[in-house]
């Protein structure tokens, strides 16, 4: 564990010198989004195909308050975390009783419902044009309009959420969610109310993804309609699987790979998503544990 943390801290320091600070910032935001998803996907074994619901809802609500009331940045984060948790509670409540394909389709359908609500409600969300004009108010004299300062802030929030998520998955709750993933019948038989624990995974995961949504809105100064769309939901699943859903660090590595590829390749080669497609096929066929597993295998080979 120690080694991973050190490696991560070095990456946080070096990243803005390797790629533009805005992209570096987006990478950690997307990683936070993935941390939330992975509590459902990797730990509980639930393929949620609607995680953007929580990311987008939080971005809209906090973005709107930032835009019209210029609220404090930390307050905006708290609101986004709450909205993420609340929307996840709603979606989770409707989904946890289903399983398999029905579960996946329902998370997707509810995501579509939120998407079309945002699409239609133009007076608030701006519909297709998105919700522009979201400020990045200073906090305690820190001028967030400077990209590198905002990067430092986002990095700190990201590391904080990683720490919190680590605590959660190493606590009994993390073990119980994994037990549900491993064997629902036995988990219930030994005394766990399975639907309630699944709901808890939704709510906590939604809170993390919601916080990420707020940081995203402030980064670009706009909530684009895509932030609540199914492509975003798919991307975060994609990135997490490539990184490795079986590990706490999987979604982080996945985010680095995904955002870095999409930013650097999209200008050079219009068909760059093919690379992701190939990476995905490799993961599904040979590397169920994603990049994290590849790394473990490689280290074992060297040893």
């Amino acid at each position: 564990m120690r080694k991973e943390i050190v490696l991560l801290l070095i990456s946080v320091v070096l990243l803005p010198f390797i790629v533009r600070p805005a992209i570096a910032t987006e990478i950690w935001i997307f990683a936070m989004f993935g941390l939330g998803l992975n509590l459902l996907l990797g730990y509980t074994g639930l393929l949620s195909f609607g995680q953007a619901t929580f990311f987008g809802s939080a971005a809209y609500v906090a973005g709107w308050l930032l835009k019209h009331y210029g609220i404090n940045v930390l307050f905006a984060l708290a609101v986004g975390t709450g909205v993420g948790a609340l929307s996840a509670a709603l979606v989770g409540y409707l989904c946890v009783q289903r399983s398999g394909l029905y579960f996946i389709m329902l998370t997707f359908a509810l995501n579509q419902f939120f998407y079309f609500t945002a699409y239609q409600w133009t007076s608030v969300t701006g519909g297709e044009d998105g919700m522009p004009g979201i400020p990045r108010p200073s906090l305690l004299g820190l001028d967030f309009s400077k990209p590198i300062v905002y990067y430092a802030f986002v990095s700190a929030i990201f590391l904080l959420s990683l720490w919190a998520m680590k605590r959660i998955v190493e606590a009994p709750l993390g073990k119980i969610l994994q037990a549900i993933r491993e064997n629902e019948v036995r988990a219930a038989a030994v005394g766990y109310d399975v639907p309630r624990f699944k709901l808890a995974a939704f709510v906590i995961g939604g809170a993390f993804s919601g916080a990420a949504g707020v940081l995203y809105a402030m980064l670009f100064g706009i909530v684009p309609l895509e932030a609540i769309g199914f492509v975003f939901s798919g991307n975060v699943v994609f990135a997490t699987l490539i990184g490795g859903s079986g590990s706490l660090y999987g979604p982080i590595i996945g985010s680095v790979v995904f955002i870095w590829l999409s930013e650097s390749m999209s200008t050079i080669w219009a068909r760059w998503p093919m690379l992701l497609g190939i990476a995905f096929v490799i993961v599904v066929l040979f590397l169920r544990g994603g990049v994290v597993e590849a790394w473990h295998r490689f280290s074992r080979l060297r040893a």
Partner: protein, 250 residues
């Protein structure tokens, strides 16, 4: 001796099939009560009813003085009923210790620290988990993954998960299913060693085991109870011989 677990005309139908039909059963505290019967007699379904996997079509279940009919499975576990499964039902990617830890934590008196306390820092749970593994003879393998141990060891783990809950009643569904003669012999010793410490209800196919360990035996046939008595009485019972023993025990 008082009865600890009791059913009154318990029935369960799957469509037109009466899997369990009007079963009235009384299990004495501290006894080992076996349930035998041919394939499809309804034995596992009876366990599913007792543990709240699904509610009965009709009839009642009592634990002590408490009516527990229709109580869902996760709550039944907290009332002190623990079961093992005929088909191994464990947490495959977990270590053996994590398997029993999960069961031991579930029935802890409170879940303080559920969100933020390190799992490994619950000394009482850890202790109970180790104890359960030790009881079935798997202490040395505590760090092995459940999916990587032998079938025989998985059957032992199956039992350890039930024990880790520190239950009042232990429901064992064919603990020796699929075991070699040597493994079966050890499993019988294991069940015997648990006698007296728990109230045990045992489903078993192998007659020699049943006759050796049971205090009482109930015989099921097509969902009904057709006989009940001591091992000697059951062996002498003509109905049982006709329905069941004739083909099997020879």
């Amino acid at each position: 001796m008082a009865s600890l677990l009791k059913t009154e005309s318990l029935s369960k139908s799957f469509g037109a099939l009466a899997a369990v039909a009007g079963v009235s059963l009384s299990i004495e505290e501290g006894s080992l009560h076996s349930i035998i019967g041919p394939n499809g007699a309804g034995k596992t379904t009876l366990f599913n009813l007792l543990t709240g996997t699904f509610p009965p079509t009709s009839g009642e279940i009592f634990l002590g003085n408490q009516r527990i009919t229709g109580t869902p499975a996760h709550q039944v576990a907290h009332l002190g009923l623990a079961r093992s499964y005929q088909r191994t039902t464990v947490f495959p990617a977990f270590s053996l210790l994590d398997n029993v830890w999960t069961a031991a934590f579930a029935t802890r008196r409170d879940w303080k620290g559920l969100l933020f306390k390190k799992s490994s820092s619950y000394d009482d749970v850890q202790e109970r988990a180790r104890q359960a593994l030790g009881d079935v003879g798997l202490a040395e393998k505590q760090n092995h993954l459940a999916r990587e141990i032998s079938h025989g060891e998985q059957r032992q783990l199956e039992l350890a998960i039930a024990l880790a809950a520190a239950p009042r009643v232990l429901l064992l569904d064919e603990p020796a299913a699929g075991l070699s003669p040597e493994e079966t012999r050890r499993m019988v010793e294991l069940v015997r060693s648990l006698k007296g410490r728990y109230t045990i209800v045992l489903i078993e196919h192998k007659m020699d085991i049943i006759m050796r360990v049971s205090d009482r035996i109930s015989v099921m046939h097509f969902g009904r109870l057709i006989a009940e008595g001591t091992p000697a009485e059951i062996q002498a019972n003509a109905d049982v011989r006709r329905a069941y023993l004739g083909g099997m025990a020879a």
